[in-house]
Symmetry: C2
Subunit: 199 residues, 2 copies
DNA sequence: CCGATACGCAACAGTGCCGTTTCGGAATCC
DNA sequence: GGATTCCGAAACGGCACTGTTGCGTATCGG
Protein backbone atom coordinates (compact mmCIF):
# COMPACT_ATOMS: atom_id res chain seq x y z
CA UNK A 1 0.00 0.00 0.00
CA UNK A 2 1.66 3.19 -1.13
CA UNK A 3 0.69 6.22 0.84
CA UNK A 4 0.47 9.32 -1.26
CA UNK A 5 2.32 12.18 0.33
CA UNK A 6 -0.37 14.76 1.18
CA UNK A 7 1.95 17.62 0.25
CA UNK A 8 2.53 16.33 -3.26
CA UNK A 9 -1.03 15.08 -3.66
CA UNK A 10 -2.30 16.95 -6.64
CA UNK A 11 -6.03 17.01 -7.28
CA UNK A 12 -6.67 15.84 -10.80
CA UNK A 13 -7.66 18.37 -13.39
CA UNK A 14 -6.47 21.78 -14.39
CA UNK A 15 -4.61 23.55 -11.59
CA UNK A 16 -5.64 26.99 -10.45
CA UNK A 17 -3.88 29.86 -12.11
CA UNK A 18 -1.50 31.72 -9.85
CA UNK A 19 -1.64 34.61 -12.28
CA UNK A 20 -5.38 35.00 -11.81
CA UNK A 21 -4.96 34.94 -8.06
CA UNK A 22 -2.36 37.68 -8.13
CA UNK A 23 -4.41 39.75 -10.55
CA UNK A 24 -7.42 39.57 -8.25
CA UNK A 25 -5.48 40.72 -5.23
CA UNK A 26 -3.78 43.46 -7.21
CA UNK A 27 -7.13 44.70 -8.47
CA UNK A 28 -8.54 44.69 -4.96
CA UNK A 29 -5.66 46.74 -3.63
CA UNK A 30 -5.86 49.08 -6.61
CA UNK A 31 -9.51 49.81 -5.98
CA UNK A 32 -8.97 50.39 -2.29
CA UNK A 33 -6.05 52.57 -3.25
CA UNK A 34 -8.35 54.61 -5.48
CA UNK A 35 -10.32 55.62 -2.43
CA UNK A 36 -12.94 52.89 -2.22
CA UNK A 37 -14.24 51.92 1.16
CA UNK A 38 -14.64 48.25 1.89
CA UNK A 39 -18.41 48.55 1.78
CA UNK A 40 -18.38 50.00 -1.72
CA UNK A 41 -16.00 47.46 -3.17
CA UNK A 42 -17.91 45.27 -5.59
CA UNK A 43 -16.84 41.82 -6.63
CA UNK A 44 -17.83 42.68 -10.15
CA UNK A 45 -15.54 45.69 -10.24
CA UNK A 46 -12.68 43.61 -8.90
CA UNK A 47 -13.28 40.87 -11.45
CA UNK A 48 -13.53 43.36 -14.27
CA UNK A 49 -10.37 45.17 -13.25
CA UNK A 50 -8.49 41.93 -12.82
CA UNK A 51 -9.65 40.65 -16.22
CA UNK A 52 -11.15 37.63 -14.56
CA UNK A 53 -14.52 35.95 -14.27
CA UNK A 54 -16.45 36.38 -11.09
CA UNK A 55 -16.52 32.61 -10.84
CA UNK A 56 -12.78 32.58 -10.40
CA UNK A 57 -13.11 34.85 -7.40
CA UNK A 58 -15.94 32.96 -5.73
CA UNK A 59 -14.04 29.74 -6.21
CA UNK A 60 -11.30 31.04 -3.91
CA UNK A 61 -13.00 33.36 -1.46
CA UNK A 62 -16.46 32.91 -0.06
CA UNK A 63 -17.07 36.60 0.53
CA UNK A 64 -15.67 40.05 0.15
CA UNK A 65 -14.31 40.30 3.65
CA UNK A 66 -12.06 37.28 3.28
CA UNK A 67 -10.74 38.54 -0.01
CA UNK A 68 -9.93 41.93 1.44
CA UNK A 69 -8.30 40.32 4.45
CA UNK A 70 -6.01 38.27 2.23
CA UNK A 71 -5.27 41.27 0.07
CA UNK A 72 -4.31 43.45 2.99
CA UNK A 73 -2.23 40.66 4.43
CA UNK A 74 0.04 40.76 1.39
CA UNK A 75 1.04 44.30 2.25
CA UNK A 76 4.13 43.51 4.21
CA UNK A 77 5.73 46.27 6.18
CA UNK A 78 9.26 46.76 4.89
CA UNK A 79 10.66 48.55 7.89
CA UNK A 80 13.61 50.81 7.25
CA UNK A 81 16.92 49.59 8.60
CA UNK A 82 17.83 51.48 11.73
CA UNK A 83 21.35 52.67 12.14
CA UNK A 84 21.04 52.42 15.89
CA UNK A 85 23.50 55.21 16.45
CA UNK A 86 21.23 57.77 18.10
CA UNK A 87 17.60 57.89 19.12
CA UNK A 88 17.16 61.02 17.05
CA UNK A 89 18.42 59.43 13.84
CA UNK A 90 16.35 56.31 14.28
CA UNK A 91 13.15 58.22 14.98
CA UNK A 92 13.72 60.35 11.90
CA UNK A 93 14.18 57.18 9.86
CA UNK A 94 10.91 55.76 11.14
CA UNK A 95 8.94 58.92 10.50
CA UNK A 96 10.53 59.24 7.10
CA UNK A 97 9.26 55.78 6.24
CA UNK A 98 5.76 57.03 7.03
CA UNK A 99 6.31 60.08 4.90
CA UNK A 100 7.37 58.06 1.89
CA UNK A 101 4.40 55.77 2.36
CA UNK A 102 2.11 58.68 1.76
CA UNK A 103 3.12 58.80 -1.88
CA UNK A 104 2.14 55.21 -2.44
CA UNK A 105 -1.57 55.55 -2.94
CA UNK A 106 -2.13 52.02 -1.76
CA UNK A 107 -0.59 52.51 1.59
CA UNK A 108 -2.30 55.83 2.00
CA UNK A 109 -5.74 54.51 1.32
CA UNK A 110 -5.22 51.46 3.39
CA UNK A 111 -4.86 53.95 6.17
CA UNK A 112 -8.19 55.43 5.19
CA UNK A 113 -9.77 52.02 5.44
CA UNK A 114 -8.17 51.51 8.81
CA UNK A 115 -9.65 54.73 10.05
CA UNK A 116 -13.15 54.62 8.69
CA UNK A 117 -13.97 50.93 8.40
CA UNK A 118 -12.30 49.79 11.57
CA UNK A 119 -15.58 49.77 13.48
CA UNK A 120 -17.48 47.83 10.87
CA UNK A 121 -14.94 45.14 10.09
CA UNK A 122 -13.23 44.45 13.39
CA UNK A 123 -11.88 41.02 12.45
CA UNK A 124 -10.45 42.39 9.25
CA UNK A 125 -8.75 45.23 10.99
CA UNK A 126 -7.43 43.12 13.80
CA UNK A 127 -5.69 40.98 11.24
CA UNK A 128 -4.27 43.94 9.40
CA UNK A 129 -3.15 45.54 12.61
CA UNK A 130 -1.10 42.48 13.44
CA UNK A 131 0.57 42.30 10.06
CA UNK A 132 1.23 45.93 9.28
CA UNK A 133 0.71 48.19 12.27
CA UNK A 134 2.15 46.33 15.20
CA UNK A 135 5.61 45.74 13.72
CA UNK A 136 6.01 49.44 13.13
CA UNK A 137 4.75 50.37 16.55
CA UNK A 138 7.05 47.81 18.09
CA UNK A 139 10.03 49.20 16.19
CA UNK A 140 9.37 52.65 17.53
CA UNK A 141 8.81 51.36 21.04
CA UNK A 142 12.13 49.58 20.82
CA UNK A 143 13.94 52.76 19.80
CA UNK A 144 12.39 54.65 22.69
CA UNK A 145 13.18 51.92 25.17
CA UNK A 146 16.77 51.82 24.03
CA UNK A 147 16.92 55.58 24.42
CA UNK A 148 15.81 55.25 28.01
CA UNK A 149 18.47 52.64 28.53
CA UNK A 150 21.27 54.79 27.15
CA UNK A 151 20.08 57.78 29.12
CA UNK A 152 19.19 59.77 26.04
CA UNK A 153 15.57 59.83 27.19
CA UNK A 154 13.91 60.44 30.52
CA UNK A 155 13.92 57.38 32.71
CA UNK A 156 10.23 57.86 33.54
CA UNK A 157 9.21 58.33 29.90
CA UNK A 158 5.82 56.86 28.94
CA UNK A 159 6.82 54.87 25.88
CA UNK A 160 3.28 54.58 24.54
CA UNK A 161 2.85 58.31 24.91
CA UNK A 162 6.05 59.02 23.06
CA UNK A 163 4.91 56.81 20.23
CA UNK A 164 1.52 58.48 20.13
CA UNK A 165 3.10 61.92 19.94
CA UNK A 166 5.49 61.08 17.12
CA UNK A 167 3.16 58.95 15.03
CA UNK A 168 0.15 61.12 15.69
CA UNK A 169 1.94 64.23 14.56
CA UNK A 170 3.15 62.56 11.40
CA UNK A 171 -0.33 61.28 10.61
CA UNK A 172 -1.77 64.72 11.20
CA UNK A 173 0.48 66.12 8.51
CA UNK A 174 -0.16 63.16 6.26
CA UNK A 175 -3.88 63.64 6.35
CA UNK A 176 -4.24 67.39 6.48
CA UNK A 177 -1.23 69.07 5.07
CA UNK A 178 -1.80 70.44 1.61
CA UNK A 179 0.43 69.07 -1.07
CA UNK A 180 3.55 67.01 -0.57
CA UNK A 181 5.26 66.76 2.74
CA UNK A 182 8.61 68.57 2.89
CA UNK A 183 11.60 66.33 3.05
CA UNK A 184 12.79 67.71 6.34
CA UNK A 185 9.46 67.28 8.10
CA UNK A 186 10.46 64.18 10.10
CA UNK A 187 13.56 65.98 11.28
CA UNK A 188 11.57 69.02 12.34
CA UNK A 189 9.00 66.94 14.18
CA UNK A 190 11.64 65.03 16.08
CA UNK A 191 13.47 68.21 16.98
CA UNK A 192 10.30 69.76 18.36
CA UNK A 193 9.27 66.68 20.30
CA UNK A 194 12.48 65.16 21.51
CA UNK A 195 13.46 67.93 23.94
CA UNK A 196 10.32 67.14 25.88
CA UNK A 197 11.20 63.47 26.11
CA UNK A 198 14.91 63.83 26.68
CA UNK A 199 16.57 63.53 30.01
CA UNK B 1 -48.90 101.78 -4.29
CA UNK B 2 -48.02 99.69 -1.30
CA UNK B 3 -44.78 97.88 -1.65
CA UNK B 4 -44.72 94.54 0.09
CA UNK B 5 -41.67 94.20 2.24
CA UNK B 6 -39.58 91.45 0.66
CA UNK B 7 -38.66 90.09 4.05
CA UNK B 8 -42.26 89.50 5.02
CA UNK B 9 -43.24 88.43 1.53
CA UNK B 10 -44.54 84.98 2.00
CA UNK B 11 -44.97 82.71 -1.02
CA UNK B 12 -48.58 81.65 -1.11
CA UNK B 13 -49.55 78.18 -0.06
CA UNK B 14 -48.56 75.90 2.71
CA UNK B 15 -45.21 76.82 4.18
CA UNK B 16 -42.50 74.25 4.43
CA UNK B 17 -42.35 72.40 7.69
CA UNK B 18 -39.38 73.33 9.81
CA UNK B 19 -39.87 70.13 11.71
CA UNK B 20 -39.43 68.04 8.60
CA UNK B 21 -36.30 69.95 7.72
CA UNK B 22 -34.79 69.36 11.14
CA UNK B 23 -35.78 65.72 11.10
CA UNK B 24 -34.06 65.22 7.75
CA UNK B 25 -30.85 66.81 8.93
CA UNK B 26 -31.00 64.90 12.19
CA UNK B 27 -31.46 61.65 10.34
CA UNK B 28 -28.56 62.45 8.05
CA UNK B 29 -26.26 63.14 10.96
CA UNK B 30 -27.49 60.05 12.77
CA UNK B 31 -26.67 57.82 9.83
CA UNK B 32 -23.25 59.35 9.39
CA UNK B 33 -22.82 58.95 13.13
CA UNK B 34 -23.62 55.26 12.79
CA UNK B 35 -20.56 54.83 10.62
CA UNK B 36 -21.96 55.44 7.16
CA UNK B 37 -19.69 56.92 4.56
CA UNK B 38 -21.08 59.63 2.37
CA UNK B 39 -21.09 57.33 -0.63
CA UNK B 40 -23.24 54.75 1.16
CA UNK B 41 -25.80 57.17 2.45
CA UNK B 42 -29.06 56.58 0.64
CA UNK B 43 -31.76 59.16 0.32
CA UNK B 44 -34.28 56.46 1.04
CA UNK B 45 -32.62 55.57 4.30
CA UNK B 46 -32.55 59.19 5.33
CA UNK B 47 -36.20 59.70 4.42
CA UNK B 48 -37.23 56.55 6.20
CA UNK B 49 -35.31 57.43 9.33
CA UNK B 50 -36.66 60.97 9.33
CA UNK B 51 -40.22 59.75 8.87
CA UNK B 52 -40.48 61.80 5.74
CA UNK B 53 -41.20 61.22 2.08
CA UNK B 54 -38.32 61.22 -0.36
CA UNK B 55 -40.14 63.98 -2.18
CA UNK B 56 -39.74 66.25 0.76
CA UNK B 57 -36.02 65.81 0.59
CA UNK B 58 -35.69 66.32 -3.14
CA UNK B 59 -37.83 69.42 -2.85
CA UNK B 60 -35.14 71.09 -0.73
CA UNK B 61 -31.85 69.62 -1.89
CA UNK B 62 -31.04 68.66 -5.42
CA UNK B 63 -28.59 65.97 -4.45
CA UNK B 64 -26.99 64.12 -1.61
CA UNK B 65 -23.88 66.25 -1.45
CA UNK B 66 -25.79 69.45 -0.80
CA UNK B 67 -27.83 67.82 1.91
CA UNK B 68 -24.75 66.49 3.66
CA UNK B 69 -23.06 69.86 3.34
CA UNK B 70 -25.99 71.58 5.04
CA UNK B 71 -26.14 68.90 7.69
CA UNK B 72 -22.49 69.16 8.56
CA UNK B 73 -22.71 72.93 8.58
CA UNK B 74 -25.17 72.77 11.47
CA UNK B 75 -22.51 71.18 13.64
CA UNK B 76 -21.28 74.29 15.31
CA UNK B 77 -18.11 74.10 17.28
CA UNK B 78 -18.85 75.05 20.88
CA UNK B 79 -15.34 75.89 21.92
CA UNK B 80 -14.61 75.62 25.60
CA UNK B 81 -14.08 78.89 27.41
CA UNK B 82 -10.40 79.45 28.02
CA UNK B 83 -9.36 80.72 31.39
CA UNK B 84 -6.35 82.40 29.86
CA UNK B 85 -4.29 82.00 32.97
CA UNK B 86 -1.59 79.69 31.72
CA UNK B 87 -0.74 78.08 28.40
CA UNK B 88 -0.76 74.72 30.07
CA UNK B 89 -4.30 75.07 31.42
CA UNK B 90 -5.68 76.37 28.14
CA UNK B 91 -4.12 73.58 26.11
CA UNK B 92 -5.51 71.02 28.49
CA UNK B 93 -8.95 72.58 28.08
CA UNK B 94 -8.72 72.39 24.32
CA UNK B 95 -7.57 68.78 24.28
CA UNK B 96 -10.22 67.91 26.81
CA UNK B 97 -12.86 69.28 24.46
CA UNK B 98 -11.58 66.85 21.83
CA UNK B 99 -11.69 64.03 24.33
CA UNK B 100 -15.28 64.70 25.25
CA UNK B 101 -16.21 64.90 21.60
CA UNK B 102 -15.16 61.34 21.19
CA UNK B 103 -18.14 60.17 23.18
CA UNK B 104 -20.58 61.92 20.92
CA UNK B 105 -20.87 59.40 18.13
CA UNK B 106 -21.78 62.12 15.71
CA UNK B 107 -18.66 64.11 16.17
CA UNK B 108 -16.56 61.01 16.10
CA UNK B 109 -17.95 59.77 12.84
CA UNK B 110 -17.84 63.15 11.27
CA UNK B 111 -14.14 62.78 11.80
CA UNK B 112 -14.27 59.49 9.95
CA UNK B 113 -15.91 61.20 7.04
CA UNK B 114 -13.32 63.94 7.12
CA UNK B 115 -10.58 61.37 6.91
CA UNK B 116 -11.86 58.95 4.36
CA UNK B 117 -14.14 60.98 2.11
CA UNK B 118 -12.07 64.14 2.01
CA UNK B 119 -10.56 63.23 -1.34
CA UNK B 120 -13.85 62.41 -2.99
CA UNK B 121 -15.90 65.36 -1.81
CA UNK B 122 -13.47 68.24 -1.70
CA UNK B 123 -16.08 71.00 -1.80
CA UNK B 124 -18.00 69.37 1.02
CA UNK B 125 -14.96 69.06 3.15
CA UNK B 126 -13.74 72.54 2.46
CA UNK B 127 -17.01 73.85 3.77
CA UNK B 128 -16.91 71.70 6.85
CA UNK B 129 -13.32 72.62 7.48
CA UNK B 130 -14.26 76.28 7.60
CA UNK B 131 -17.15 75.79 9.97
CA UNK B 132 -15.82 73.22 12.39
CA UNK B 133 -12.10 72.67 12.02
CA UNK B 134 -10.63 76.10 11.48
CA UNK B 135 -12.12 77.74 14.58
CA UNK B 136 -10.60 75.08 16.77
CA UNK B 137 -7.26 75.25 15.05
CA UNK B 138 -7.30 79.01 15.36
CA UNK B 139 -8.08 78.82 19.06
CA UNK B 140 -5.09 76.62 19.65
CA UNK B 141 -2.87 78.79 17.50
CA UNK B 142 -3.93 81.76 19.56
CA UNK B 143 -3.04 80.05 22.81
CA UNK B 144 0.38 79.13 21.47
CA UNK B 145 1.01 82.63 20.13
CA UNK B 146 0.08 84.15 23.44
CA UNK B 147 2.43 81.72 25.15
CA UNK B 148 5.22 82.95 22.93
CA UNK B 149 4.32 86.50 23.85
CA UNK B 150 4.38 85.87 27.59
CA UNK B 151 7.63 83.99 27.31
CA UNK B 152 6.10 80.70 28.41
CA UNK B 153 7.04 79.21 25.05
CA UNK B 154 10.12 79.36 22.89
CA UNK B 155 10.29 82.51 20.84
CA UNK B 156 11.17 80.53 17.70
CA UNK B 157 8.36 78.03 18.19
CA UNK B 158 6.70 76.79 15.00
CA UNK B 159 3.06 77.38 15.90
CA UNK B 160 1.69 75.05 13.22
CA UNK B 161 4.03 72.34 14.40
CA UNK B 162 2.94 72.76 17.98
CA UNK B 163 -0.65 72.45 16.92
CA UNK B 164 0.08 69.36 14.85
CA UNK B 165 1.83 67.69 17.77
CA UNK B 166 -0.93 68.33 20.28
CA UNK B 167 -3.91 67.65 18.03
CA UNK B 168 -2.23 64.76 16.26
CA UNK B 169 -1.45 63.02 19.52
CA UNK B 170 -4.99 63.47 20.75
CA UNK B 171 -6.42 62.12 17.52
CA UNK B 172 -4.08 59.19 17.65
CA UNK B 173 -5.54 58.20 21.01
CA UNK B 174 -9.05 58.94 19.87
CA UNK B 175 -8.77 56.59 16.94
CA UNK B 176 -6.65 53.80 18.29
CA UNK B 177 -6.87 53.63 22.01
CA UNK B 178 -9.07 50.80 23.20
CA UNK B 179 -12.02 51.81 25.29
CA UNK B 180 -12.60 55.20 26.82
CA UNK B 181 -9.91 57.77 27.12
CA UNK B 182 -8.72 58.35 30.67
CA UNK B 183 -9.74 61.65 32.14
CA UNK B 184 -6.18 62.78 32.73
CA UNK B 185 -5.03 62.05 29.19
CA UNK B 186 -5.03 65.69 28.04
CA UNK B 187 -2.98 66.62 31.05
CA UNK B 188 -0.48 63.85 30.42
CA UNK B 189 -0.14 64.77 26.76
CA UNK B 190 0.48 68.40 27.52
CA UNK B 191 3.00 67.53 30.19
CA UNK B 192 4.91 65.32 27.79
CA UNK B 193 4.84 67.81 24.94
CA UNK B 194 5.11 71.18 26.59
CA UNK B 195 8.68 70.85 27.91
CA UNK B 196 9.81 70.56 24.29
CA UNK B 197 8.01 73.74 23.31
CA UNK B 198 8.77 75.76 26.42
CA UNK B 199 11.44 78.39 26.65
C1' DC C 1 -64.32 78.97 1.08
C1' DC C 2 -60.60 78.93 -2.73
C1' DG C 3 -56.26 78.60 -4.71
C1' DA C 4 -51.75 77.37 -3.86
C1' DT C 5 -48.31 74.76 -2.02
C1' DA C 6 -46.26 71.12 1.05
C1' DC C 7 -47.13 66.92 3.14
C1' DG C 8 -46.59 61.47 3.46
C1' DC C 9 -47.22 57.54 0.69
C1' DA C 10 -46.92 54.37 -3.04
C1' DA C 11 -45.65 53.05 -7.54
C1' DC C 12 -42.75 53.50 -11.64
C1' DA C 13 -38.74 52.13 -14.81
C1' DG C 14 -33.68 52.20 -14.76
C1' DT C 15 -29.32 50.76 -12.89
C1' DG C 16 -25.90 48.18 -10.44
C1' DC C 17 -24.46 44.48 -7.71
C1' DC C 18 -25.46 40.14 -5.66
C1' DG C 19 -24.37 35.03 -5.73
C1' DT C 20 -25.34 31.20 -8.94
C1' DT C 21 -25.47 28.63 -13.11
C1' DT C 22 -24.29 27.45 -17.79
C1' DC C 23 -21.28 27.44 -21.60
C1' DG C 24 -17.19 26.27 -24.78
C1' DG C 25 -12.52 25.94 -24.35
C1' DA C 26 -7.88 25.01 -22.06
C1' DA C 27 -4.79 22.59 -19.00
C1' DT C 28 -3.32 18.70 -16.54
C1' DC C 29 -3.31 13.73 -14.88
C1' DC C 30 -3.89 8.76 -15.73
C1' DG D 1 -7.78 9.65 -25.44
C1' DG D 2 -10.63 10.32 -21.48
C1' DA D 3 -11.53 12.17 -17.09
C1' DT D 4 -11.28 16.00 -14.42
C1' DT D 5 -10.81 20.56 -13.03
C1' DC D 6 -10.12 25.37 -13.99
C1' DC D 7 -10.66 29.25 -17.14
C1' DG D 8 -13.32 33.64 -18.90
C1' DA D 9 -17.72 35.09 -20.50
C1' DA D 10 -22.40 35.61 -20.24
C1' DA D 11 -26.82 35.28 -18.40
C1' DC D 12 -29.99 34.31 -14.56
C1' DG D 13 -33.55 35.97 -10.69
C1' DG D 14 -33.40 38.80 -6.71
C1' DC D 15 -32.64 42.84 -4.19
C1' DA D 16 -31.66 47.71 -3.09
C1' DC D 17 -31.46 52.30 -4.44
C1' DT D 18 -32.21 55.87 -7.87
C1' DG D 19 -34.92 60.07 -9.25
C1' DT D 20 -39.72 60.97 -10.84
C1' DT D 21 -44.68 61.06 -10.78
C1' DG D 22 -49.50 60.99 -9.17
C1' DC D 23 -52.57 60.47 -5.17
C1' DG D 24 -55.34 62.27 -1.40
C1' DT D 25 -54.63 65.19 2.61
C1' DA D 26 -53.00 69.19 5.47
C1' DT D 27 -52.06 74.00 6.04
C1' DC D 28 -51.40 78.39 4.82
C1' DG D 29 -52.99 83.55 2.61
C1' DG D 30 -56.67 86.20 0.87
Amino acid sequence: MTIQEPVTARPAGRPRSEKAEKAIIEATLDLIGDGMGVAELSIEAIASRAGVGKTTIYRRWSNKEELVADALATLKAPLPPLAGVSVRDDLISLLNAMREDKDRSRTRCVMNVMMSDADRYPALMERFRKVAIEPRKEAMREVLRRGIGTGELRADLDVEMGMAILSGTMIWYTKWASGDLPEDLPERIVDHVLPGLAA
